[in-house]
Amino acid sequence: MIRLEELSIDLPGFSLKPLSMSVSEGECFMIVGPSGAGKTLLLEVLAGLQPASGGKIHLKNRNITNIPPEKRNLSIVYQDYALFPHLSVEKNIRWGLRFRTEKSSGRNIDHLLDLLKLRDLLHRDPETLSGGEKQRVALARALAVDPDILLLDEPLSALDTLFRYELLDYLRKLNEEGITILMVTHDFGEVLALGKRVAVLIDGVLEQTGIVKDVFNYPLTTEVAKFVGMSNIWTAEKTGEHQVLLPSGRQLSTQLNGEPGPCIVGIRPEEIVPHVDDGYGERENMLAGTVTSIVHRGAIMEMTVDVDGTPFKTLVTTSDLVRKGFEVGTKAKLEVRTESVHIIKNGRNQK
């Protein structure tokens, strides 16, 4: 559907290194990265609202790199909705229709109004709508022109939690109806909830592209690992078959294999299981340490356990915390399954 070939952007204060990727028809492709990574800018370049510095954009095998925005047929939806404040909801939605000649648009609108439950809002002033309603109007306006691809710029981040789940469902429905979606976000949770494939963009560099689950579980670089929530990352030494040596001198078994030498080890915090110290000493990948901090992370707590000077971060529920009696200063034993020990940078992350 859309293919980027060595696309680059060079602006004062920001640059996007040559980037190649493609999105297939009907796909829900996510571009994820921290704020300021140039995600919105990338969407604007695709839509023709900002010039590319180099490379090409192909849409349905047609080079659209130098085509003006009104002739590209890619609809963009911004995080702040960008509804026309001087027009009613209906006029907003119908904005693009006057520039289309296809007769199917009318039927398309009827369908969209039902799907996005907008019929009752048509005569309202955009200023009087809730965030979720505004975003649905913006979606309908973008889809009314029957675009080849829907470009979404962090569509959920300005919404309350309740509306966020609601809109996620709408987006899923739209994608199931065959609408190709290219969405940018800074929240990997949204990627997990909606996306099938993802590209991670950090500081203008495309760090990794792949199936969402693979990127989540097997990040290729430390930047991606940190971004997907792999909070235990250490420089280590690959010592032998299925063995890594942490800086503290602690040996960990892994299912991964590779050449001996320096490497970076990563473990997701939720894959470390904390147990009450049974006093039976250590076994393989069963490490004894002392709890050094317990911090709230929303509904769950992040507990840090110091094992010979290496801080291991793990997640526990409140009830677990009470049941197992963990407090700062108590002993704990950490179970790290061999398949949870990832080697991030040893050339490649061998699965």
Partner: protein, 270 residues
């Protein structure tokens, strides 16, 4: 807003009152001390009516010219950053800094038949000195910053994203400008038009040098003051102020009634 002590209240009220009274008092005094018999009398005087009408229409003509050429410039200044932008903005504001008689002399030297621009105008059959054209040329010079600055700020207050969305949905640039940008910036632009017109209608210094005759109202007021004294000049002043006030109120009412989304509107901050 936080709770204010009576000291604060009196401080702000006192300081503000000084400024407001400073503006109102002389105008009020002029009205209060005007000899209304002479005001009515001069209102019938064809010379006075001619000068007042000339002031009104030359100010309108100069504002129209500024709006035509100044709007694209204001848009570019609001939307783009480029190398000489700050310099251009400073140049635009020069007429505010330059004493108006100096502006008059500069324009006179430019449009005199001996200068290239002046000789070009004369060869086209136009007479830029002591003519309506001269008045308009002087008014344009002194009014430019008032329109361009206000319009630039009005455009800047319209989110570029709205224009981007419009283009993205298939609207060409022109359609987007006239149906998104302009309606949303209307209030600020209208304010620029009023300021520009008001500046032109009150211009004296530059006009008196380029075109003493035919007379505009401010020149006639000065002429009557110099020849006959205060008694015969103040009635024309009263009339000019009344005309300006009526125009000002009409446009303000029109602007407030029509536009809910302009610059400074409370809905912007919501």
């Amino acid at each position: 807003m936080w709770t204010r002590s009576w000291r604060e209240r009196w401080f702000f009220a006192g300081m503000s009152a000084f400024i407001i009274i400073y503006v109102i008092l002389p105008l009020f005094t002029m009205f209060a001390r005007a000899d209304w018999k002479i005001v009515v009398q001069t209102a019938m005087d064809p010379v006075v009516l001619d000068a007042l009408w000339r002031s009104v229409w030359t100010a309108g003509a100069s504002t129209a010219v500024i709006a035509l050429f100044g709007t694209p410039l204001a848009y570019i200044l609001a939307r783009r950053s480029f190398k000489w932008k700050a310099t251009i903005e400073a140049v635009i504001d020069l007429p505010i800094m330059v004493p108006h008689t100096v502006a008059g002399i500069a324009i006179l030297m430019t449009v005199s038949p001996k200068a290239p621009v002046g000789s070009a105008l004369v060869s086209m059959g136009l007479s830029p000195i002591n003519s309506n054209l001269g008045i308009v040329i002087a008014c344009i010079f002194v009014s430019i910053p008032f329109y361009v600055d206000a319009t630039r700020d009005a455009f800047a207050a319209v989110s570029p994203r709205l224009e981007k969305v419009s283009r993205n949905l298939g609207a060409p640039f022109g359609y987007t400008f006239f149906h998104v940008t302009l309606p949303l910036a209307r209030r600020g632009i209208l304010s620029g038009l009023i300021m520009s017109w008001a500046r032109a209608v009150s211009e004296f210094g530059a006009i008196v040098i380029i075109s003493y005759h035919p007379m505009v109202a401010p020149v006639l007021i000065y002429d009557r003051f110099a020849t006959f004294g205060l008694k015969y000049s103040s009635p024309i002043a009263v009339q000019l102020i009344l005309i300006s006030l009526v125009m000002f109120i009409l446009l303000r009412v029109f602007a407030v009634g029509e536009s809910r989304f302009g610059r400074g509107d409370s809905s912007d901050q919501a």
